[in-house]
Amino acid sequence: MASDDALPTLKILLIGPSGAGKSALLMRYCDDEFDPDTAAATIGIDFKIKRLAVRGKPYRLTLFDTAGQERFRTLSTSFYRGAHGVILVYDISNRASFMSMERWFDEAKANTVEDVALYLVGAKLDKASRSREVTQEEGLALAEQHGASFCEASSKTSENVRRPFVEIVNQIVQTPGLLTNATAKRRSGTVVVDSTTNNGYFLPNCAC
C-alpha cells in the first residue's frame, strides 16, 4: 500500500532462548494463528509487518524473529541495528529459560541504543496452573531491574497477546530520541539501490 511509506516504521525484535514461544507469539499476534505442533525451530520467517494505531496514531511495525540464530547465540550485531524496541520472551513453565534472561538483557542492551524500549514477556501463561516454574513476581522483579515493562501471555489462548506490542509501541512513541529515525523512510544520505536513474554523466555526444 503506497500510503504505508508515510507511516513511521518501528523495528521491534523478539529475542530469547529457543522454545520460549517467540514465533508463536508473533504468529498469534500478526496472523491470529496458533499451531500446537510446530514446536520445531522457526524456518522461513524473516519479519512480519503489522500496522498498529496507538493513541490514535498509526505505526508500521516490522517485527523480527530470531530465525533460529538464538540457538547457539549467534544473533549478529546487524540484526540489532536500528531497533526501537526489544521484546524478550521466556517460558514460565521452564526455569532454565527464565534463568538465561539476564544474558539476553545484556546482549540486547549492548547492541542497541541507550533508550531502547525493553519488554519482558513470560510466555505460555496457559501452563500456569499445571506446570508454572517461574512466578509472576519473579518476572516482574527481573523486568523492573532492567527498566523493562512486563506481562505474562499465552499464544495458545490469546490472553494478553496484543499487550506487549501495544505497550512497547506506547513506550517507544513517548521516547522522542528513539523516534527521530522512524519517520523519514529514506534517511538523508541513504541511497536507494533497487531503481537506477540511468543518467550517465559522460554522454558520447559531448561537444568538447
Binding site: M1, D4, S18, G19, C30, D31, A40, A41, I43, G44, I45, D46, F47, K48, I49, K50, R51, L52, A53, P58, R60, A67, G68, Q69, R71, F72, R73, T74, S76, T77, S78, F79, R81, A110, N111, R162, F165, R187, S188, G189, T190, V191, V192, V193, D194, T196, T197, N198, N199, G200, Y201, F202, L203, P204, C206, C208
Partner: protein, 488 residues
C-alpha cells in the same frame, strides 16, 4: 530440535567472510540442510568490523595464535581525551567501496538481501598535493570526474581539461574495435605508459587517472585500468546524482556478510560461531568433521575459505579514529545528491618524504564520517592502505600527518586511536579436493572485486546440482507477508 550430529548435512560452510556468507544466502531457498560455522566468535572473517574491545582481543589473539593472513597488528592510543565507549565504534577490516555497477549489488537486490542494508554514497576523490615550497602547507585537490566537474574546475589548465575530456570520452568507448587498436599494444603494460604515449598527459593528470583506479602499486595494467575507470564512469549517476560508489553503513562488507548469514538462517541454516574444524576424515560420499566445540558432524560437502597466503604482495593498513568531523571532505558537490559519508584521498607515489626518501607507492585514505555509524558524532574514521614494505608503517604515519595538515590548516585534527596491521594476499583460485571446496582468499582490492562472485556461484552449483537453472541464482521474492492492520 535434534543435535547437530544427528543430521547428515548437505553442506557445512566454514567461515562467515563475504564469499561463504553469500553462498549461504544463495542456498537460503534451496531446501538443503546447511550448517554454517565460524572458528571466530564474530561474523565476517577477514571482512569483519570491530568495536574497540573486539579490535583489542583480535590484536591480542594475532600476537599468540596462528597468524593466517594478518600480522604485525598493534593498537596505539595517544594520550588525549575524546575517545568514546568501545561499542560506539565499528572499525572495518575491509572498508571496500562498492561501485554502483557492481555485480554484488545486483545480486543483493535480486536476492532481496539489500533491504536490510543501508547504503551510503561515496563522495569526492581528492588528490594530495605536497607544497612546492616546504614552508607552505600541503593541499587537497578534488579530482573532477563528471563532465560538469571538468568544465567547472579551476584546479587544472584549459589544455589539461581538453586532455582529460578526450581521455574520459575514450574510456566510455574503450572496448569498441577502433579504440581497442589504440590500447592493444599497451594491454599488459602500465596504464601510466599508455596515458603518456597516447594522450601525452602531464604528471598531474596521470596521477588523477591512476588515483581513480585505486591501484595499490600505482602500476595497474592498461587493460585492468581502463576497465576500472570505465566502471567508475558508468557507475557515476547510476543510483542518483554525484556519486559512483556505495558503502554499507556500520562497517562495509561485514554488514553484507551478516545480512547474508541471517538470510541463510531464515532459510533454515544452523549457525554456530566459535566453532572451527578440529579434525576431518573423508569417506567416499561424506566428510566427518570434529568441531572445536566437541560436536561431530557429517556432511556431503564441506566449503571453506582458503586461509593460506598467496603469491601477491601484502598491504599495510592503518585505521585511525579522529576527533574531528572533517566536514569539508563530506560536502555534496551536486544539487540533489545524497550527503556523502565516505571520501577518498590519494597521496600519490613521491608525495611524501620518509627519512629523506620519497614513498614508492601511493597511499589511499578512505575517510568515513560518523554517518557511517562507525564512530560517534563529531568524529571520523580514516582507513589508510598502501603496499607493505620494510617501512610502510612509517609511510602510513607520515601520510596521516600530511593528510591532517592538508585537510585543515587552522586546526590540525587530533588522532584518538590507531590500529595498524598488515594483510597478506590470499590465493586467487578455488580448489576442489574430493568433498572439500576451498574458496579463494579475501581480496585486498580497495573496491569490491566482482571476480570473487563467480567462485561463490560455482560453489552454489556444486551444492544444488546441474538440474537447477543458472537463471535462478540469487533470484528470490520478498518473504514478508502483506500488511495486516491492528487499528482500533
Amino acid at each position: 530440535m535434534g543435535s547437530i550430529s544427528d543430521t547428515l548435512w548437505d553442506v557445512v560452510i566454514c567461515g562467515t567472510g563475504l564469499q561463504q556468507s553469500l553462498l549461504a544466502l544463495s542456498l537460503s531457498r534451496s531446501g538443503k540442510n546447511i550448517l554454517h560455522i565460524d572458528p571466530n566468535d564474530y561474523y565476517g572473517g577477514a571482512e569483519a568490523a570491530f568495536s574497540l574491545q573486539e579490535a583489542e582481543s583480535w590484536v591480542d589473539r594475532l600476537a599468540t595464535e596462528d597468524k593466517g593472513l594478518f600480522r604485525s597488528a598493534s593498537i596505539t592510543k595517544p594520550d588525549v581525551a575524546g575517545l568514546s565507549f568501545p561499542r560506539a565504534y565499528s572499525l572495518a577490516l575491509a572498508p571496500q567501496l562498492i561501485h554502483a555497477r557492481s555485480e554484488l549489488l545486483s545480486q543483493l537486490v535480486s536476492s532481496r538481501a539489500y533491504r536490510q542494508v543501508e547504503f551510503l554514497a561515496v563522495g569526492s576523490f581528492y588528490i594530495f598535493k605536497a607544497p612546492l615550497d616546504p614552508a607552505q602547507q600541503p593541499s587537497l585537490v578534488r579530482i573532477p570526474s563528471t563532465r560538469e566537474d571538468v568544465f567547472s574546475t579551476t584546479a587544472i589548465s584549459a589544455k589539461a581539461k581538453r586532455g582529460l575530456m578526450k581521455f574520459l570520452k575514450f574510456v566510455l568507448d574503450y572496448d569498441s574495435p577502433e579504440q581497442r587498436d589504440a590500447w592493444k599494444p599497451f594491454v599488459d603494460k602500465p596504464l601510466v605508459d599508455f596515458l603518456q604515449e597516447h594522450f601525452k598527459m602531464d604528471a598531474e593528470l596521470k596521477a588523477y587517472i591512476i588515483a581513480l583506479t585505486l591501484s595499490l602499486d600505482g602500476r595497474i595494467s592498461t587493460e585492468d585500468g581502463l576497465s576500472i575507470i570505465y566502471r567508475h564512469l558508468t557507475s557515476m549517476g547510476h543510483f542518483g546524482p554525484g556519486f559512483a560508489a556505495l558503502y554499507p553503513k556500520w562497517g562495509g562488507i561485514s554488514e553484507i556478510a551478516q545480512v547474508a548469514c541471517r538470510a541463510g538462517a531464515v532459510g533454515g541454516a544452523v549457525y554456530m560461531l566459535g566453532a572451527g574444524i578440529k579434525s576431518m576424515a573423508t569417506a567416499t560420499d561424506e566428510v566427518e568433521l570434529e568441531l572445536t566445540s566437541g560436536d561431530k558432524v557429517k556432511t556431503k560437502l564441506l566449503v571453506r575459505g582458503d586461509g593460506s597466503v598467496g603469491d601477491e604482495p601484502s598491504i599495510s593498513r592503518l585505521v585511525a579514529v579522529v576527533g574531528s568531523p572533517l566536514k569539508s571532505l563530506f560536502e555534496s558537490t551536486i544539487e540533489g545528491a545524497p550527503t556523502p559519508c565516505v571520501a577518498v584521498v590519494v597521496l600519490p607515489a613521491g608525495s611524501l618524504t620518509i627519512s629523506g626518501v620519497a614513498n614508492t607507492f601511493p597511499v589511499y585514505v578512505f575517510a568515513h564520517s560518523s554517518g557511517t555509524g562507525e564512530c560517534p558524532n563529531g568524529q571520523s574514521v580514516l582507513y589508510l592502505s598502501t603496499m607493505a614494505t620494510s617501512n610502510s608503517k612509517e609511510v602510513l604515519s607520515r601520510a596521516l600527518e600530511s593528510f591532517f595538515s592538508a585537510v585543515d590548516h587552522d586546526q590540525v585534527p587530533q588522532c584518538l586511536y590507531q590500529l595498524y596491521y598488515e594483510q597478506a594476499a590470499g590465493v586467487k583460485q578455488s580448489r576442489l579436493d574430493q568433498l572439500t571446496l576451498d574458496l579463494p582468499g579475501p581480496s585486498l582490492s580497495l573496491s569490491m572485486d566482482d571476480t570473487l562472485l563467480k567462485h561463490v556461484r560455482e560453489a552454489w552449483k556444486k551444492v544444488v546440482g546441474d538440474t537447477v537453472d543458472d537463471a535462478e541464482y540469487m533470484v528470490f521474492t520478498d518473504r514478508e507477508p502483506v500488511d495486516d492492520d491492528d487499528f482500533e
